[in-house]
Amino acid sequence: MAGLEFVGVRKTYPNGVKAIHGIDMAVSDGEFVVIVGPSGCGKSTLLRMVAGLETVTEGEIRIGENRVNELEPADRNIAMVFQNYALYPHMSVFDNMAYGLRNRRTPRDEIARRVAEAAGTLQLEGLLDRRPGQLSGGQRQRVAMGRAIVREPEAFLFDEPLSNLDAKLRVQMRLEIKRLQRALGTTSLYVTHDQVEAMTLADRLIVMNAGVAEQIGTPLEIYDAPATLFVAGFIGSPAMNFLSGTVADDGAGANLDGAERTLLVAPPASARRGRITVGIRPEHLEPVSRETAALEVVVELVEALGADSLVHGQLADGGEGAAVTVRVDGARRVAAGEVLSLAVAPNHVHFFDPDDGKRLA
């Protein structure tokens, strides 16, 4: 097993499109790193560069101690699980798993042993003679995993492996992948656009946007202290509320546009006088009595999810862009038109510079 390292990695396509603007990061041995971001952010490109399916324009990718930029995919000692599984449709499950080993001239009995072992781990024992076309989506997914496992690679690369499954199966397979990776202890790089998948699977996350790694950290680090507006909005569901305003004259709070009262949470000292963006997650707003409230929201719509309800509304007197979502206890009855008075947990208020989107600290 080995770690993985990106040193100043850039990718420019022949047509001039810049896909990756410079990534530096080290993945340690056995770590599970998830690359998350919206479509087109370059996350798949980054993964495919590690696999050797895309060339590296600039910088260096290392697996273990070795620079792999120039190596063929087969020589990098990695295994990949594709979104559409990419199983060979004309080969049996056994042959699908064995193909890579045969190409490496692994001895026959060794192949049989490894495939049997992987089939055992993935509960595929009875299916080894079937063709991929005869399997369910979940089973195909397992075969794709099996094909990666039997190779005993230095690293697993996952390219949105769960997005072709239905919601229920996705949750189940997510757990299985995590369990498997823990058991094998193989360094893993996992690409997804689904932030729930990212949060639950990752030891560490890379949040990417437009070819740039906006933030790298553990899921909770990122949740608690998002480095940019983009990260703050992307991680967490429902998304964080953003309210614009100005820093109060005495620096002890912020005057939100469309709110009557000053929000009495002091912005960090680095905040210049002037415009500021305040971020508060829906789960960090709490209905209270009118007197102690920091914000007042006119309710427009309530989505009851059972355990809790999502209340969508606007700041009272609010103008454009003052939409607020609040997560309240499911037992609480809230009706449209009602004015909800809300308190804010001071530790959970985030301040951003509206010009460059950076977190103020």
Partner: protein, 282 residues
């Protein structure tokens, strides 16, 4: 159908049966003629029911040919046709599939040019370049040979495009997975792409075999040695008999034999054949 109109359905069946009859009529007449002795043909009109000379007539043409026209045995012509059709079908498929593979899966200089050069063959059927093509084949000393009969016909834009079209529908991840599994370009072609193309190859084979079998002008040009006559062009020689009236019973027996192999291929491999044809529209 949408609503129940029995008379319309009956009408449809009647029309279709008529269509089937007209389709079959020439073959029936030919078959009947091929089973009668020579003198039945002189009575003023062809009989409508089979006669008793079937085995004799077929044995004669197969074994010794149509005597009146001085032809070689039809058995030899059948063999020539078979060899030519097979070489054309196999040759076209072989060179087209590798060319399509190169064009789809590789980037190389002049790739676009190659594509256009192949495309141009669509515009140049044998019929429009008869003399110069004959000249080339003659100067390559390929007249009166199986090579001369087949090789000049095996370049095929259609087959190349069909394979290209099919390769483009093969998920790219398959090639990527194969690369990660350590398969080089040739191994990927042999282990993955070729097995996946099986039905396409079979469908194309049916079409191309018929195409090759039915060649007429080309064998007419490049064979002067009777030993290389194919059956489809050989029939014409039989009609040019020196006698006043051709030996119809034997000519019809030969025609039946000329139709039999491709018709059997179409009837028994109908699904493949239909698939192969319809794909050409796409």
């Amino acid at each position: 159908m949408v609503e129940n109109r029995p008379w319309l359905t009956v009408f449809s069946h009647v029309v279709l049966c008529l269509g089937v009859l007209v389709t079959a009529l020439p073959i029936w007449i030919a078959f009947v003629a091929s089973t009668h002795p020579a003198d039945s043909m002189l009575s003023g009109r062809t009989p409508l029911l089979p006669g008793g000379n079937m085995l004799e007539n077929y044995a004669t043409v197969l074994g010794s040919g149509v005597k009146a026209a001085g032809s070689i045995p039809v058995g030899t012509m059948l063999w020539n046709s078979f060899v030519m059709a097979l070489m054309i079908a196999v040759g076209k498929i072989a060179i087209s599939i590798i060319a399509a593979y190169a064009i789809v899966y590789f980037r190389f200089p002049l790739r676009k040019t190659c594509f256009w050069v192949i495309f141009i063959t669509l515009m140049l059927p044998v019929e429009v370049r008869i003399l110069p093509t004959f000249g080339v084949v003659a100067s390559l000393d390929m007249l009166n040979s199986y090579w001369g009969l087949s090789v000049p016909l095996i370049a095929s834009a259609t087959a190349t495009f069909l394979f290209r079209q099919f390769f483009l529908t093969v998920p790219e991840e398959l090639a990527e997975a194969a690369r990660i599994d350590g398969a080089g370009p040739l191994k990927f072609f042999r282990d993955i792409l070729l097995p996946l193309s099986r039905t396409n190859i079979a469908a194309l084979f049916v079409i191309l075999f018929i195409f090759g079998w039915n060649q007429y002008l080309w064998p007419l040009l490049v064979t002067t040695d009777e030993g290389f006559y194919t059956i489809v062009m050989g029939i014409q020689r039989m009609l040019q008999a020196e006698d006043a009236e051709p030996a119809w019973h034997e000519i019809m027996a030969t025609s039946m034999l000329a139709m039999l192999p491709p018709v059997l291929v179409v009837v028994f491999m109908q699904r493949l054949f239909v698939k192969g044809l319809i794909e050409q529209e796409k």
